[in-house]
């Protein structure tokens, strides 16, 4: 069983730590675009686009590394350990 985080917490983290990003809904995932770069794999959640789903935290580890978001910023919103 993979560890999870709440999607709303991811959005709050991105609002604070990656201001100016765009959230682009796709049929099976969210894309996050920032300064011309795109992280393609933020899941919708296990049951699709329901409100504030749990998503596997590893996808967000990949995201914060991709955009090089400082741990000091994201850890106020998410436990990605």
């Amino acid at each position: 069983m993979s560890r999870v985080v709440r999607l709303d917490d991811v959005w709050r983290m991105l609002d604070r730590c990656l201001p100016g990003h765009e959230r682009l809904p796709k049929p099976h995932r969210w894309n996050i675009r920032f300064k011309g770069r795109v992280y393609h794999e933020v899941p919708l959640g296990r049951h699709g686009t329901r409100r504030n789903p749990e998503i596997e935290s590893g996808h967000i580890r990949g995201l914060v590394k991709f955009f090089q978001i400082p741990k000091a910023c994201y850890e106020a919103f998410l436990d990605l350990s």
Binding site: M1, S2, R3, K26, P27, H28, R29, N31, R37, V38, Y39, H40, E41, E56, S57, G58, H59, R61, G62, V64, K65, F66, F67, Q68, S81
Partner: protein, 166 residues
Amino acid sequence: MMTEEIAPAIGTRYPLLFTYRDTLFGKGFIVEVQATNGRALCVREADGFWIYGINPGGMSAFGDDPDAAHAAFRRTFSGILVDLAGDARGFDEFRELVTRFFEDTNEGYEAEWREAVEAVQRGEVSLEGVEIVPANSPRSIGVSVKPVEQLTAQDNSANLQYLLAA
């Protein structure tokens, strides 16, 4: 099966190279995408095995073992190509989107990928049944129109091979 006989320690990292071929439909075209020696980092995390793309950098996947994680990574790669085909207004734009996707490096994990390569070179890390190849194997992405008369039954099969970089 490409699995460890002994469960690796949490934090163990495997530098992977993968080669995929996809055939898919876009707006008015059939296209073949050939990704050669893409880079990815497989990490034994507390909850299982995660694969983080290096090139392409903007994706990740999870599995209970390296094979399962790689199968999920492969499915996600194809799914993203389908998304890009849906975004593109024509073949040229699709090729540009795919190239940008593949070449965009996850620099946050790239140093760990290189450290993992060195660990494989020292013989500290291996995956049973997985071939070791040079880490500097040339990487490329090819996107080409696929004429209908060139389609074969092989276009239906997904290739699932991955290799360990050293």
